[in-house]
Structures are given as C-alpha cells and as structure tokens.
C-alpha cells in the first residue's frame, strides 16, 4: 500500500563518552585502554564482598566542564542511583549511575549543516555513571570470558532532545559533541576503542503531526559512518513497515555493519525493570557556585568561538576555519605556526591542512605527535614569505624537516636551497634559455597575447630546471616577458 504521505524523521541520541580520568570513577584502578585482561580491576571493580565506592572528583569536574560547555544547568545536588540487572560483566549486579537527579541538566548546542543552515539541538541531561566490563566470547571454547578492566571507567551519558530530523543532523550533532569533549580534554573521542559511543532513538511520523511515532533504539553504532547508515536504514524500514499497514514495535535493534541492516535485539516486554534507587553507599554530590565559577575560568576556548575568531583574526575562509578548528590540538598547532611565521595565516592554514595533514595520515599519527613542530613549520613559512625559498623548494625543506634534518634555516643553508634573487644571475639564465630555444621563441612571438601566457610556462620551466628550482619565479617571469617582446 503505497501512500503519498510525507514522513518526518525524529531522532534523539544518547552518547556515552568515557571520561579521560587517570583512575576509575569509584576506585583507584587505572583506566588505560588495552591492558591485559583483568589487570586493571581492583577489589572495588570486582565487586568483592564488603567493598565500597568512593567518587573520583576529577570525573565530577569533567562533567561540570561539559555542562558549562553546552550552556547547561549544573545541579547543586545530584544523586547516584543503582541500576539493577544481572550480567556477567557487571560485577555488583548493578551499575552505579544517576537517575532522577543528574549532574547536568538542560542545555543546547548549535549545529551547522552542509547547506550552511544552522539549528539548535537541545540536550536533556548528562549524567555520570560507571562503565561495565566486557564479555569475551572468543578463545574460551564454549564459554565466555569476562574482562573487568573497563568496569568502573567513568562515563558521561549525554541525552539529547528528539530534535534531529535526519541522519545528517544527527551526525552534525554527534560531531559537535565529539569536538566539544575533545576540546575540553575530558574524552579522547576514540570510537574504535569505544570511548565515544552512541545509541540512536529513531521514529517517524507523518509530516505535520505533533505526536511522536513509536521509536526504536539502535545500538552497536561505533563510527560516524555506521551511525548514518543505521539511521537511514531504520528510517526506510519504519516507512516500509507503516506503509505496508503494520506498526513499528518499540524495541532495541542492533546494527549489523556487514549487512547494513538493523535487527531486533530485545523487545519492550523483555526490557529490564532496573529498580533504580539512590545508592546508599554514596553521598549526594553537592556543587557550590564557587566551584562552578572556578571551573568556568579554566574552560578552554570552544570550537565555535575559535572558529569565529580564526575567521576574524586570520581572515580564514569558513571552510578553512572549520577544518582547522575541528580538533583543538590542530587549532592550537595552527595558531602556534602562525605566530612562528610572523602572522602569515593563509600559508600556515594551507600547510597545516595540506602537506602536514598528508604526512600525519601517511604515518597514521596525530598532530600531537607531528614530526615537525609548529615552530619549525612557522619558521619555514617565514622563509617562503620573505622569498628565501619558493613554495616548490619549501616542499623539499618540509620533507627534510620530517626526516629530522633540522629546522628550515639549517636545511636551506646545508643544502644550498636559498632562492636566487640576484638579477644578474637570473638574467644570464634567461638569456641562455632564449638562445637555446629559437623555435619556441618564434612561436611565442607569433602568438596572440592571450596564448602567450601559456607558452611562457615552457621557458619558466626550463629556467627553473637549470637553477634547480632556486631562481625566484616572479623575477624569472618578469625578465622573460621583457626579453621575449
């Protein structure tokens, strides 16, 4: 039964961001990813009889930072609650979370879409909780292993309002939150390792209808691409279900990236009754205004503000500013480069987004481990700007810097890469090339003015080759034009 109804999608996201604390949220065990199984689980993480949780204040501060960054209300009193369910990777038989009184209340962020339009997405709440361990199904024959290294890792769960209307909006929101938590340095944002995870609540309704449709919750979304695919698949599935006369069932669905489909994980009826109640082992978290003010003062410049400032201060295009401020480390690197390059922003942006980014990708590393420091890159850009080297030679210098051959000035000196700007020397090169290529000279001189520009390239190329790239291209051009008249 095909209909002409236009469907509107409604999406809300629940993001779980692991907080980058050194130790766990309720114990002193370390949180490093990838350690041998069960080597980072202490008595508290194992849920041994008699142990008690003690709240890690660093996690609280990080949650406050997040709240402030999304303009949210920070609760003066929030309460940890127990979420009770049985699972082998949940040692206590309950997860310590927050239920009725979360630490972060209502907030919002602005997202920007591909067409340049902007939209405000509401954040309902964000709360602190502990992560569970991991069940390991491989390598135990018919049994399941349990690794509790992750158990007790602090999480902040960020719940959005159902404000998004397409997968594109959902991804824009997700990326914005991703960028904010990384700017705040409260989460490393690594989706592969699961430190930034997302569940999506998706429903559809006829366009114009106020009432929400029945939603499904999508799980196992561990990359931006999969999230987008899963949502789009789910929208189509729901439309098919409704248009075929059936009803969408409220349930949790698992996304399978191999088949690009979602399938039923558990229905509403099978859902646990979590029997939340305030955890009697922990006192309410009380936060005074002074603490909030102190943390506010420490907040870094956030992505939006930085992006706007770079456009204003460095005259970057919106696009360049977007790309550069995508990560705080890259933005800071860029700014340091500009400073070292005597304020040369455009060239700095090109180099950071271009050559440097290519090298980092090739070496599979990030900008904090760049082989070339911002000071070194800026130093080199200064030499492009003052005509010591050409852009072309700069690539050679940059490569040498990547290989640890020293800074730009040392490399230019050692390898004799200084640009030739002596008019006499360039004039000799020009004369020699003109003399050696009479045919091309003739062709040039017989061509109409609008074709000459192209032909002159041949002479420039020859001269640059002769000078091993060191002749100043502007001077070469100018002299050629005079002599070929």
């Amino acid at each position: 039964m095909a209909t002409d109804i236009k469907w509107e999608t409604v999406i809300g996201l629940e993001i779980h961001a692991q907080l980058a604390t050194k130790s766990k949220i309720f114990s002193g065990a370390a949180t490093t990813y990838g350690a041998d199984a069960n080597t980072q689980a202490c008595a508290v993480d194992l849920g041994l009889p008699g142990v008690l949780p003690v709240l890690n204040q660093q996690a609280v501060e990080m949650a406050i930072k997040f709240g402030l960054a999304v303009d949210a209300h920070i609760a003066d009193k929030s309460v940890f609650a127990r979420k009770n369910y049985f699972y082998p990777d949940l040692p206590k038989g309950y997860q310590i979370s927050q239920f009725e009184l979360p630490i972060v209340g209502n907030g919002d962020i602005e997202i920007q879409l591909a067409d340049g339009s902007k939209k405000i997405i509401g954040i309902t709440r964000a709360h602190l909780e502990e992560d569970a361990g991991k069940s390991v199904h491989d390598g135990f024959f018919d049994n399941t292993g349990v690794d509790l290294n992750r158990a007790g890792t602090p999480l902040i769960e960020i719940v959005s309002e159902p404000d998004m209307r397409s997968a594109e909006e959902a991804i824009a929101y997700l990326k914005k939150i991703h960028s904010i938590v990384r700017y705040l340095k409260i989460c490393d944002g690594n989706m592969q390792e699961g430190s930034f995870r997302c569940d999506a609540n998706v429903s559809i309704r006829p366009m114009g209808q106020e009432e929400l449709g029945t939603r499904t919750e999508l799980k196992n979304l561990n990359s931006f691409k999969f999230i987008e695919q899963a949502i789009n698949y789910e929208i189509e599935r729901q439309i098919d279900v409704i248009e075929s006369g059936a009803e969408v069932v409220q349930e949790t669905r698992l996304y399978d990236p191999n088949k690009n489909e979602t399938r039923t994980m558990r229905s509403k009826e099978e859902a646990n009754d979590y029997r939340y109640f305030p955890d009697p082992d922990l006192l309410p978290v009380c936060i005074d205004q002074e603490t909030i003010e102190a943390i506010k003062k420490e907040l870094p410049e956030l992505p939006d503000a930085k992006r706007e400032r770079f456009i204003k201060e460095f005259d970057l295009s919106e696009y360049d500013s977007d790309v550069i401020t995508a990560s705080r480390d890259q933005a800071e690197y860029f700014e340091d480069t500009v400073n070292a390059a005597n304020g040369e922003a455009k060239l700095s942006a090109n180099w950071v987004m271009g050559e440097l980014s290519a090298v980092l990708n090739k070496n599979n590393t990030d900008i904090t481990n760049s082989p070339v420091s911002a000071e070194m890159l800026g130093g080199m850009i200064k030499r492009i700007k003052d005509n010591t080297i050409s852009s072309k030679i700069a690539k050679q210098v940059f490569e040498a810097m990547c290989n640890g051959k020293g800074n730009a000035d040392e490399i230019i000196d050692n390898q004799g890469l200084k640009q030739v700007t002596d008019t006499g020397a360039i004039e000799k090169l020009v004369d020699d090339v003109i003399a050696a290529n009479p045919d091309q000279v003739k062709q040039y001189q017989e061509s109409p003015a609008d074709k000459q520009g192209k032909l002159i390239g041949f002479f420039v190329g020859q001269i640059m080759k002769q000078s091993k790239g060191k002749a100043n291209p502007q001077q070469v051009n100018q002299l050629l034009q005079e002599k070929l008249k």
Partner: protein, 484 residues
C-alpha cells in the same frame, strides 16, 4: 585470667602478670572446650592468633604497647579478614577467603589485638535469633535451649561465655544490642558513619554500623577509641574527629535528662521486662538524673519502614553473589540463567531469599512509590521524632528487646513475630543514632538489657551513663552457670 575485662587484662599484660601468648592460649582452650556446645565460632584461628600474640608480647617487652596490645578478640564473620574464610554465615560464601582486611580489622590489628576467630551470625546478618546461619544456631550460654539473639549472636554468646573478652558486631536493626541484651552483656551501636563499613559485608548500607560487644561500658569505650574514625574508603563515614571515649566515663550524672517514650511503656510490654527497666531508670535517678515522659509518635511504623528499606538495599547488595566471580557456583550450569538461578537458589538460605524477594518487589516499577518511597518518608518522620525528643532530653531510655531470649526454633516459621522483636532497636538505625544496651537485671532468670539512645555522635555521653550505671550495679558481672 578469662574473668577479666579488657581494661584489667591490659594492666595485667603491662604488669607482665602473664603474656599475651599465655592469655590467648587460655582463651583458645576455652573456645575448644565450649564451642562444640555453643557454636559461637565459624572459624577459630589458633595459628595466626598465637603469632599475633607473640608479636604483641614483643611490643609489650619493648614498651611499645597500647591499651589493646595483646588483647584477644573475636570478629563477627561479616568482617573481611585477609587470607581467612569470611562466610557471613552463608553457604554462599562458605568457600570465600577474603583477600583483604576490613578497615575495622586493620585498625584493631594495628592496635595490637589478637584475633581468636570469626563468630557465627545470622546469614548475611538477616535474623534476630542466629538460627538463619548456614553453620547452625548459636546457643545462649544462659540457657542452651535458647537463642542468643542475632544477628551478632556468635559474638554476644562468645563474650557472655567468656570465650573472648570482647568481640566485634554489626547492627543494622539491632544486631549488636538485641543479642547483647539476650546474653547479658554490653553492646554499643555507634552513630551511623562513626565506624567504617569498608570490608564489612553489606546487608543494608544505609543502616549497617559496626560496633563493640563487651563485658563493660568501659571496655566498649576502649574498643570504640580504636574502631571509630573517618575512612577515605567509606564515603558515608563521618569526618567528625574522634574523641577519647574513656575521658567522660567518670563524669557525674547529676542533672542528666532522661526521656521515657510513652510508646515504649504502653501496657503491651511484658511486665517483668518493664519492671527491670523501671528499676534501672530509678537507679539512674539515684545517680542524679531527671526523668520525663516523651513522645515518639511514629515508633510503631519503624518495623514496616525498616523491613522495606533494609530489604530493598539487601536485594541490590546481594546481587553480586551470582556464582560468576566468587562464592558458591552451581555444578554444570546449562547456560547463564541456569548459573544465576541455581547458584543463588543453592547458596542463599530461606530468610535471605525472603528479604531479597521482598526488596526486589518494593523497588519494582509500579510499587516503588507505594513501598520504598513511602518507607523513606516514614524514616524521615521517625528521625524527626527522635530529633525533637532529643531537644528536650539528653538520652532516651527503654528496653532493648520486648522479651528475653526465646527458645530455639520458636520463631523459625514465624518471621513476622521475629521481625516484631526488633521494635525498640530498628528505629534507632533508621534515625542513624547511637545506642547502647547494658544488662539491667533478669526476668525468668534470663538477662534483660536496657537501651540508652543518645544524640548523634554522643557516644561519650552514652558510655558515661552506662559506666556510671555499671559502677552502681553488678548485673554486668553476672555470669551464666558453667561459664563463670
């Protein structure tokens, strides 16, 4: 030497009348000869005890001894003791060797005390008779056909029978005070948060509190000095500074204001118990106290409030006993659900299951407001009753328990009657207040305890009153026949 209080033992050790090793050996011998009859201990630890005693003797020789150095004690088997079985009275933990010490154990070890063994208790501290223990009932030394009370029944019976000069206990709804009352000894439940709960296997976290079970109030003060204090591993432990609880013991009771709750003496109270308590109060009046009647209007609501809250918390606290990491695991589980169901069905006893099911029910969607939330409201009302009463009086006095020790198996199939026997104790836990039970006389040749309830952190005052009472009476010096 086993007839002495720890205060007396301490002087004897310092005077080198005997060594800690001699003392500990003598207690271990008594334990050996009486434990099969009384069943006070789940584990005895002769080897580590002798080693601890020898190291205490060295300290005494070197003049490094404190007031508790070399003094033997028994720990309720709810406190984790590193390297030894910590069963909590349950088959679930029959195979559990604790890999760490509870904070209370650490503190008492550091004070130089010697652990004789771990005492029997109601399973997971759930019970008022000690009959719910997987290890069988403890017998009351005053009449071995009777229960010692619970849940710290093993500790109370051990101190009453002089198998240990002092023991630790825990009190969630009366589990220190009620067995102290039924065994004719002294039991102190400190203010909630005064003694760390770390390493004390949780029954109901918002109510559980560890404390000493002793022969005298003076001993309780000496023990509390070592047990009390903030613990960074227990977020609910109080940061309030610890005082020297012995310093006010000899203060006069002149002008002490005692409140007698009308609701405690309502005509329903057994006349023989009531007369013991009234006589005790008279004694305190002789020592200078003034008595007035007070109101605790909501006290009868404390039993339902307590059993909802305690059950709710225990249903969650005991979820960790799932057969996955430690404790009992069923044989050959078919799948995960089978592992959970059978491990827990086999590992827990009847009373524990009853409370887990009750607690799960009261927290369930649709019932939470009607039970759990309502119980929390009652709890606030009960606490407010105490607060306003304690604005007018210094302490509140009444019976610890509505009866003397009951017969073994008397309540085994009647949990409600057993629950009702907690009427005078549970409200104190709900309010978080400190209270002490002291022997005040006998009814039908069985000991009767008098409960003194004080304001938050007023342990010194309670111990002072109890000590002055014990200076003027000799109820606490009575010993059961065969153990004197």
């Amino acid at each position: 030497m086993y007839k002495k209080t720890i205060k007396q033992l301490s002087s004897a050790l310092q005077n080198k009348d005997f060594s800690s090793e001699e003392l500990v050996s003598s207690y271990l011998q008594r334990c050996d000869s009486h434990n099969s009859n009384l069943n006070c201990f789940i584990s005895l630890m002769p080897e580590t005890a002798i080693a601890q005693a020898r190291s205490a003797d060295k300290k005494i020789q070197n003049g490094e001894a404190g007031p508790l150095t070399g003094i033997p004690l028994a720990h309720k088997d709810i406190f984790c003791t590193n390297g030894t079985k910590t069963s909590c009275g349950s088959s679930m933990l029959d195979n559990f060797i604790a890999p760490y010490d509870a904070t209370v154990v650490t503190r008492l070890n550091e004070a130089g005390m010697v652990t004789l063994g771990k005492t029997n208790m109601d399973e997971f501290a759930m019970g008022s008779t000690n009959e719910t223990s997987f290890y069988g009932a403890v017998k009351n030394p005053w009449d071995t056909a009777r229960v010692p009370g619970g849940s710290s029944g093993g500790s109370a019976a051990a101190v009453a029978a002089k198998l240990a000069p002092v023991a630790t206990g825990t009190d969630t709804g009366g589990s220190i005070r009620q067995p102290a009352s039924l065994c004719g000894i002294t039991g102190l439940k400190p203010t909630y948060g005064r003694v760390s709960r770390y390493g004390m296997i949780a029954y109901a976290s918002s109510l559980d509190q560890g404390g000493p079970i002793t022969q005298t109030a003076e001993d309780a003060a000496i023990m509390l000095n070592a047990m009390a204090g903030f613990d960074e591993r227990d977020s609910t432990s109080a940061e309030q500074a610890v005082e020297d609880y012995t310093k006010d013991l000899n203060e006069s009771l002149d002008g002490l204001k005692i409140g007698l709750p009308k609701q405690y003496f309502d005509g329903q109270l057994d006349a023989s118990i009531e007369s013991v308590i009234q006589a005790g109060v008279k004694q305190l009046e002789k020592l200078g106290a003034n008595v007035k009647e007070i109101e605790l209007p909501n006290s009868e609501l404390s039993i339902p409030a307590y059993y909802v809250i305690a059950s709710a918390e225990c249903s969650s606290n005991l979820a960790r006993f799932d057969g996955v990491r430690f404790g009992h695991r069923c044989d050959d589980p078919e799948d995960l659900t089978d592992l959970y169901l059978r491990s827990r069905a086999e590992g827990f006893g009847k009373e524990v299951k009853r409370r887990i099911i009750t607690g799960t029910y009261v927290l369930s969607a649709g019932y939470y407001d009607a039970y759990y939330l309502k119980a929390q409201k009652l709890r606030r009302m009960i606490r407010d009753d105490f607060r306003s009463a304690l604005e007018d009086v210094d302490v509140i006095i009444g019976p610890t328990a509505p009866q003397t020790a009951f017969k073994l198996n008397e309540f085994i199939d009647d949990p409600i009657s057993m629950y009702l026997s907690d009427i005078y104790t549970v409200s104190v836990n709900l309010a978080g207040l400190p209270a002490i039970s002291v022997p005040a006389g006998f009814a039908n040749e069985l000991p009767v305890g008098m409960q003194i309830i004080g304001n938050y952190f007023a342990e010194s005052r309670l111990l002072n009153i109890a000590h002055q009472f014990q200076q003027a009476t000799d109820w606490h010096q009575q010993s059961p026949v065969g153990f004197d």
